[in-house]
Symmetry: C2
C-alpha cells in the first residue's frame, strides 16, 4: 500500500468483496431481470438529462479554467445527441442480455453416459479505469450488468461531477433488482497502484483513455491481466486503383468525423501515382483536409519528393488525437503493408481500391484487429459493429481483439456429467472408448 | 539482457524473426498442407519409436543418477503406449486442421453494401516453456502447425536428448511443406528472462510444468501475456447422497490414475455423515487409498473428529503431485463449495451425488474451469475433451479457460467491406442507418 494506510486498505477490500457478492447476485437473477435493469438505466439517461448535463457543465467549466486540452475537453463533454446514442446502445445490450451468461457454446458426448458442456460465465470482478469520457460509465455498467460481472469504476477527477450523477442512475437501476453491490464508483482519491496490488479480488483491468494511462496501468499491474488498446495509429492507404471520390470521402471521415477517437486516421498512405507531378489527387486531398482545419505533416519519402510541402512529421508512430495528420507516399501495396506493420499499432487499417485482388491481399496480409476495404476507420466501434456499447477496442492478441462488446467480459466453464466414469476405463485395453460425438446445442 | 551479451541477443532476434516469417509461411499454406505436415509428424513418431525411446533412455539414466524426484521421472519417461496415444491426438488435430485459420465466426451486414466478417487468425509467435515432459513437444508443435502460429520451444535440460530427437522429427515434417522456420527449439542454455524481455517478438508465453515454473514465468514476464495453469488443487466432494461404489471408483481414479498430473485430486472432501462413527465409507476409502500406496493427511476438522487418524495436513492448499492426499470433512454442500473457493485453484472440482438438485447447485456455484458430476478429475484434459492434444490447462479467467486446444492459439480479425462508406453518413439526420443484419456463416 503506498501512501494510504489501513483506512484505504480496508476500503479497497470492502469495495472488492461487495463487488464479488454483487456479481453473484447478478448471476442469480433471471436474464430478463438483468435486461430490465439496463432498460431502466437507459430510460433514466433520458429522463434525467437535465441533471446529467448540469453536472457535466460543472466539470467542463472547471476543466476549461484548468486549461484542459481540446481533445480532452471534447471527450469530457456530454450532449443530448451523445446521451441519445448512448441510450440506443444500452437498449441494444439489454435486448441481447438473455443470451450472455450460461449460454451453451458446445456439447460433446465424450462416451456413453459422459456428456461435456461448455457454458459462458462472467469473468468475475472487473476494474475499469477511465479518463475524461463520462459516457463510458453507463456503457460499461450496462455491459457488466448484462454479463453478470462485478464492476469497480475509477473515473478521472476532471469528470467527477458527471460520474457521480451517472453513478446515481446506475445505482437506482441496480436497486430495482436488488444488486446494488455489483457496481461501485471508486473515489477519485484512491491510488490506482493500491487497487492493482490486490490481485485475487480483481480478475481483469480495463483502462480506457490515453496511451499514457493504458501504458501506466500495464506497467503497474503485475498479476492482474490488463485489456486495453495501447494506441490507435490507424492508416488509410489509397491505391492507384482507387475510386478517388470515395477515397476523399473516406479520408475526410476517418480524420475529421471525431479526431479525438482512437479509431481516427493518423497516417494517410498514398500510392506514388497519386502524388507524382500532374496528379490532381494529392492537391485535392490537401485542400480538403486544410479546409477541415487539419494540420498536415510529410513522411520522409513524401518530403524528399516535394519541393514545397507540409513540414516533416516528427515520427511515423504519432497518434495525434486531433486535427493533425501525416501523409506518406508508398510505391504500392506491398510497401503500404510493410509501412503499416512497421509503424502501425494493429488497431484499424484501410485500403481504398476498386481492385478486388489487391483488396483481398491487403485484408489477408495486414495483421491488425480491424482491416477495412473502402470504408472509414471510424467504423471500428462496438456500437457500429452491432455489439452494443463497447468496453473498449483491444489491440491485444489474446482474449478479445478489436471492438470488445459483452463477449469480451465472459469466460467459460466446462461442465461434465458422468455416472461414475474413470479415466482408467479408457486406457488401452480398457472397457470404454471415447466417441467425442458433437451434440446439438439447443 | 542479463549475463548474455550481444551474441545471445543476436540469437534471440534471429529465432524470433524466423519464427514470425515461418508463421507467415504456415499461414500461406493450404489447410490440407498443414494437416499433411501433422500426419507426417504422427507417422514419424511411430516409425522412429526406437530412436525416440533410446534418446529418452539417456535422459532417464542421467536424471536417475542426478536424483530427479519420482513424479518428475514419471513425466520425463516416454513409452510405446505414450507415443501411440500422442499419435492419436496428433491425428485428431490434423483432421480438424482444415477449419482453424480463416474460419468465419460471424457475418453481419451493418448497412446496405457494408459487410462485416470476423475470422480466426493465428496469435502470431508463441513461446512454450516446458519441463520434463518431452511428449509436450510434438503435441505443441502440432497445435502450432494446425493454427499457423510460429513457435519457440524451450525445454528443460533434463529432457535434452528426447527433445532433440523429437525436434528432428518436427523439422522433417515441416521441411515437407517448406515451413522449416516456423518452429525452433531454443537452446537449453538461453536465459528465459532474456527471451521474456523481447516483447513485440513473442505474442504469448505458455509455461508447462511445475507451479514454481509457471509462477516464475509470470513474475518475469511484464509485457508478454502468460497463459498457464498456476496450480491444480483439485477436489472431489462425496455427498451423503452419493453412490458410494461410484465414489470409491472416482476417488481412486482421480488420485491414482496419474498422480503427477495437474488434474489429479489433491483433497478429498467427505460429507460428515460418511465419517461419523458407524459409517463404513471412511474406512473403505482409507483402506483403498492405502492399498494404492497413497499417504493420507487430515484436514483440521477431520483431525478434530478422529481420535486416531492420518497426520495433520500442513496446508489445505497443497498440490502434492504424487501419491499423497488430504482428507477433510464438511457439513454439507455449501461448506464444500466454500472450501473449494477458499483453498482450491479453480482447476477441476467434482461432486459425487445421485441428487440432481445438489449436482446442479454445485455446478452453478463452483467457480472453477472444470466442474464435474460423478466423473473423475482426470477427464479435465484436451484429448479427453475431444480438443486434440492440449497446449495446457488454463486457470486464467481471460482468453482460454480449462483444457486449451488449438482454439486457445487463435485470435480474430474483423474484416469490413464497404463502397465508400463514412461514419458521418450514419449520424443523426444522415442518409444511412445501421441494420446489423446477421448473415449466414457459410
Amino acid at each position: 500500500m503506498t501512501n494510504s494506510g489501513f483506512g484505504n486498505y480496508y476500503n479497497y477490500h470492502f469495495y472488492m468483496s461487495i463487488a464479488r457478492i454483487g456479481s453473484r447476485t447478478l448471476l442469480g437473477l433471471a436474464p430478463e431481470e438483468r435486461a430490465t435493469c439496463i432498460y431502466t438505466l437507459a430510460d433514466l439517461l433520458l429522463s434525467k438529462e437535465k441533471e446529467i448535463l448540469e453536472a457535466n457543465e460543472k466539470d467542463l467549466a472547471e476543466a476549461t479554467k484548468g486549461g484542459l486540452s481540446k481533445p480532452l475537453l471534447s471527450r469530457l463533454s456530454l450532449t443530448s445527441p451523445k446521451l441519445r446514442s448512448l441510450t440506443t446502445g444500452l437498449r441494444q445490450i439489454a435486448e441481447n442480455s438473455h443470451n450472455n451468461v450460461n449460454r451453451v457454446l458446445r456439447r460433446t458426448r465424450l462416451a456413453p453416459g459422459l456428456d461435456l458442456t461448455q457454458v459462458t460465465v462472467p469473468i468475475g470482478v472487473l476494474l475499469v479505469i477511465f479518463e475524461s469520457r463520462p459516457d463510458c460509465l453507463p456503457q460499461v455498467a450496462a455491459l457488466a450488468i448484462s454479463s453478470a460481472n462485478g464492476l469497480l469504476l475509477k473515473g478521472g477527477s476532471e469528470a467527477a461531477h458527471s460520474n457521480r450523477a451517472l453513478m446515481d442512475l446506475v445505482r437506482q437501476a441496480l436497486e430495482e433488482v436488488g444488486a446494488n453491490n455489483a457496481i461501485s464508483l471508486v473515489s477519485t482519491r484512491e491510488e490506482i497502484s493500491d487497487l492493482l496490488s490486490l490481485d485475487g479480488h480483481i480478475d481483469l483491468v480495463i483502462p480506457r483513455g490515453s496511451t499514457e494511462l493504458v501504458r501506466s496501468i500495464q506497467d503497474q499491474s503485475h498479476h492482474i491481466p490488463v485489456m486495453g488498446h495501447a494506441e490507435g495509429i490507424c492508416h488509410v492507404y489509397v491505391d492507384n486503383d482507387a475510386d478517388l471520390a470515395k477515397a476523399l470521402k473516406i479520408i475526410r471521415d476517418s480524420k475529421c468525423d471525431y479526431p479525438a477517437a482512437c479509431n481516427a486516421m493518423e497516417t494517410l498512405l498514398l500510392h506514388e501515382d497519386l502524388v507524382k507531378s500532374g496528379a490532381a489527387f494529392f492537391t485535392d486531398v490537401c485542400t480538403m483536409l486544410k479546409r477541415e482545419g487539419v494540420t498536415l505533416y510529410s513522411g520522409p519519402k513524401l518530403a524528399e519528393q516535394l519541393t514545397f510541402g507540409p513540414p516533416r512529421a516528427k515520427s511515423l508512430k504519432t497518434e495525434y488525437s486531433g486535427l493533425e495528420c501525416t501523409i506518406e507516399v508508398v510505391s504500392g501495396l506491398e510497401q503500404a503493408v510493410n509501412h503499416i506493420h512497421t509503424y502501425g499499432s494493429g488497431h484499424t487499417d484501410v485500403i481504398v481500391t476498386q481492385n478486388e485482388q489487391k483488396a483481398s491481399y491487403f485484408q489477408n496480409q495486414v495483421d491488425s484487429a480491424c482491416v477495412f476495404v473502402n470504408a472509414s476507420t471510424r467504423f471500428a466501434d462496438g456500437y457500429r459493429f452491432g455489439l452494443g456499447a463497447e468496453v473498449g477496442i483491444s489491440t491485444s492478441r489474446i482474449h478479445a481483439r478489436g471492438p470488445m462488446g459483452v463477449e469480451g467480459l465472459l469466460t467459460t466453464k466446462w461442465v461434465l456429467k458422468g455416472d461414475g466414469h474413470a479415466a482408467a476405463d479408457f486406457a488401452e485395453g480398457g472397457s470404454m472408448h471415447f466417441t467425442h460425438e458433437s451434440l446439438p446445442i439447443n
